[in-house]
């Protein structure tokens, strides 16, 4: 697998525009101005939802792209944060609901997610490749059934409803525009953090462990500890996405953390591409658009077939996902512009 390489060298004297990249600035401005033209539906159901799932898939990309660890448990981790928000904050299901303020609930929920993720990681890092996938699938399935059958903590198959996003600074953060900016803020922060972190000492360490764990051990690295720490970091991202997800839906139930959702996240990551942190977001937009509009195109009976076909075509044409496709087209475009130039 030729996954994330992050080999772009940084020359010392660059101005901030070069450092961030013109493409990033244009994209950020476009996303900031998007609410001017978009309807509420496109703001939340498409853009906001895509960014939540983008961050979730980004947590998978971090593990798989840089660490070589494929996980199906990212939605489980997000679900733990979502359930924590329902349990520690308030809900209208008359079960638990401590009524803590959001600024206490959110750190606790994210911490619970990150610690659970580290635990899942600690269990699964003794395996590799397909076996990691199987172990995380087992954990995701077990958590799903446990949540469905446990009434004391998870309130069984109905889960929790009536969970509200916070209201502060006179803004209800679940209103379309504030919620969009909330999602955008998280997406941009997560993306920037992963991009920066990929060239940090720890980021390089993970890529080296992915390429050759045995050599890393021989260089004095505690490989398991590094992998578990990567799971912890991925858990923070998944946890934050889980908080936004429960605010978005207003409810959380075993269906939120089902195996079908777990697979969706893997599909998003694979369709987008695992080579660069932008991949999960590209994949999320494509999959969310398909899931939303495939019904209009082919009807309720066949929309999953269409999604499956598109997935097959993308993976068949480019094993590196849409990013890989772009990577192959880009040199041709550059050639064209060279020819067109003076």
């Amino acid at each position: 697998m030729s996954l994330a390489t992050a080999a772009e060298g940084a020359a010392p004297q660059q101005n901030w525009l070069d450092k961030i990249g013109a493409g990033h600035v244009i994209l950020a401005v476009a996303l900031l101005l998007y609410p001017l033209v978009a309807s509420d539906f496109f703001l939340t159901q498409i853009a906001g939802y895509s960014m939540i799932f983008g961050v979730l898939s980004l947590s998978l990309m971090l593990l798989a792209g840089y660490g070589g660890m494929l996980s199906l448990a990212q939605i489980t981790v997000a679900g733990i944060a979502a359930y924590a928000v329902a349990i520690l904050g308030s809900n209208n299901s008359n079960v638990l609901g401590f009524g803590w303020p959001w600024w206490i609930v959110v750190p606790f929920a994210v911490a619970a997610a990150a610690v659970s993720s580290a635990l899942i990681g600690w269990i699964s890092v003794r395996t590799e490749g397909i076996y990691t996938l199987m172990i995380t699938l087992a954990i995701a399935t077990a958590t799903f059934y446990f949540a469905q059958q446990n009434y004391a903590i998870f309130n069984g198959h109905s889960g929790y409803a009536g969970i509200h996003a916070p209201v502060f600074w006179g803004i209800n953060w679940r209103d379309p525009k504030p919620f969009y900016y909330l999602c955008l803020g998280l997406a941009m922060l997560s993306y920037a953090a992963v991009l920066y972190g990929s060239r940090s000492t720890f980021g390089m360490t993970m890529q080296a462990i992915r390429d050759n764990p045995r050599r890393m051990r021989a260089l004095g690295y505690h490989v398991t500890a590094h992998k578990v720490f990567a799971w912890f970091l991925a858990g923070i991202l998944a946890g934050l996405a889980g908080v936004l997800l429960v605010w978005f839906n207003g409810r959380v139930s075993p269906g939120t953390i089902g195996v079908d959702v777990a697979i969706d996240i893997l599909i998003i990551a694979v369709i987008g591409g695992l080579r660069h942190p932008i991949g999960p977001f590209v994949g999320a937009i494509v999959v969310i658009l398909m899931q939303t509009f495939a019904i209009d195109i082919v009807g309720a009976e066949r929309f999953n077939t269409l999604i499956g076909l598109v997935f097959l075509v993308i993976v068949f044409v480019s094993p590196d996902g849409i990013l890989g496709l772009w990577g192959r087209i880009k040199p041709h475009l550059a050639q064209e512009s060279l020819r067109a130039g003076p």
């Binding site: 030729s2 996954l3 994330a4 390489t5 992050a6 080999a7 060298g9 010392p12 920066y196 972190g197 060239r199 940090s200 000492t201 720890f202 980021g203 390089m204 360490t205 890529q207 080296a208 992915r210 390429d211 050759n212 045995r214 050599r215 890393m216 051990r217 021989a218 260089l219 004095g220 690295y221 505690h222 590094h226 720490f229």
Partner: protein
């Protein structure tokens, strides 16, 4: 020099970089190593010769802790390291290279060496990017020069030639103040020019760094080693100076053709 080392061999345990007492390793019924006794003085450079399957790499694996010996004790600068995990041995200054390059193909040359330096240093979990004047980066830069890879500092490891990968393999072992290095066939697959370069790199290593080199190429082995051990079927069967070994009829028989050609 050889006489001095021979004299050292008789001194107390503290003068030895590496001492092996009756080290054995069995894989089921297969005896890969059997009763190896070896004393290597600090700063000594030893070649281990032997045909394929003689147990040379198994010997390295036992010393580095990649797997534990079935019997026997290993001491490193007087300390018993037989039961220590690999990374603890690394932190005491023991390094190795691999017969088949074990590199990080997705990283740049400089970053690889940087990680090797950071491995025995602190801040391994840092989420910050290392500054250009980071102490480990500066070390990496000088190691880069020691193995003649300056021109490829930012190249992806996957794009290096075989010879350059072998040089990087050595660079990773030089990181972080090594006291003793195990070189596992560093010349494998190198061209004659690259071999000369390798001999120059090995002979230019700081004098306090001792090493064992496994090498099939007698020319390379005899030009970098003070003393030679011969292995056959998991046994040490002869030791001597390069001249003695080269002239020994039994060695010629087993190693240089004869029945195992």
């Amino acid at each position: 020099m050889t006489e001095n080392l021979a004299a050292n061999r008789l001194q107390s345990s503290g003068a030895y970089a590496l001492e092996l007492d009756g080290v054995a390793r069995h894989f089921g019924a297969l005896v890969a190593l059997s009763g190896i006794d070896m004393r290597i003085a600090a700063g000594e450079r030893r070649a281990v010769l032997g045909s394929n399957g003689a147990g040379k790499t198994t010997l390295f694996n036992a010393v580095t802790g990649d797997f534990l010996p079935t019997a026997g004790r290993i001491r490193f600068f007087g300390e018993d390291i037989t039961d220590l995990p690999p990374h603890e041995r690394i932190r005491r200054g023991l390094r190795r290279t691999y017969q088949i390059s074990q590199l990080f193909k997705g990283l740049s040359v400089l970053d690889s060496i940087f990680l090797a330096c950071r491995g025995v240093s602190r801040r391994r979990f840092s989420l910050l990017r290392p500054a250009a004047d980071d102490v480990n980066m500066v070390q990496a830069q000088s190691i880069l020069e020691a193995v003649h890879l300056e021109a490829h500092r930012d190249a992806l490891v996957a794009t290096l030639s075989h010879g350059q990968q072998r040089q990087l393999e050595i660079a990773l072992a030089l990181a972080g103040a090594p006291r003793f290095i195990l070189f596992d066939e560093p010349a494998a697959g190198l061209s004659p020019t690259e071999r000369r370069d390798l001999v120059a790199i090995l002979n230019a290593l700081p004098k306090h760094i001792g090493f064992i080199i496994i090498e099939h190429d007698l020319d390379v082995a005899l030009r970098v080693a003070d003393y030679v051990s011969m292995m056959h079927n998991g046994h040490l069967f002869k030791e001597g100076t390069p001249q003695e070994i080269e002239a020994d009829p039994e060695v010629q028989q087993i190693y240089l053709g004869g029945k195992h050609g």
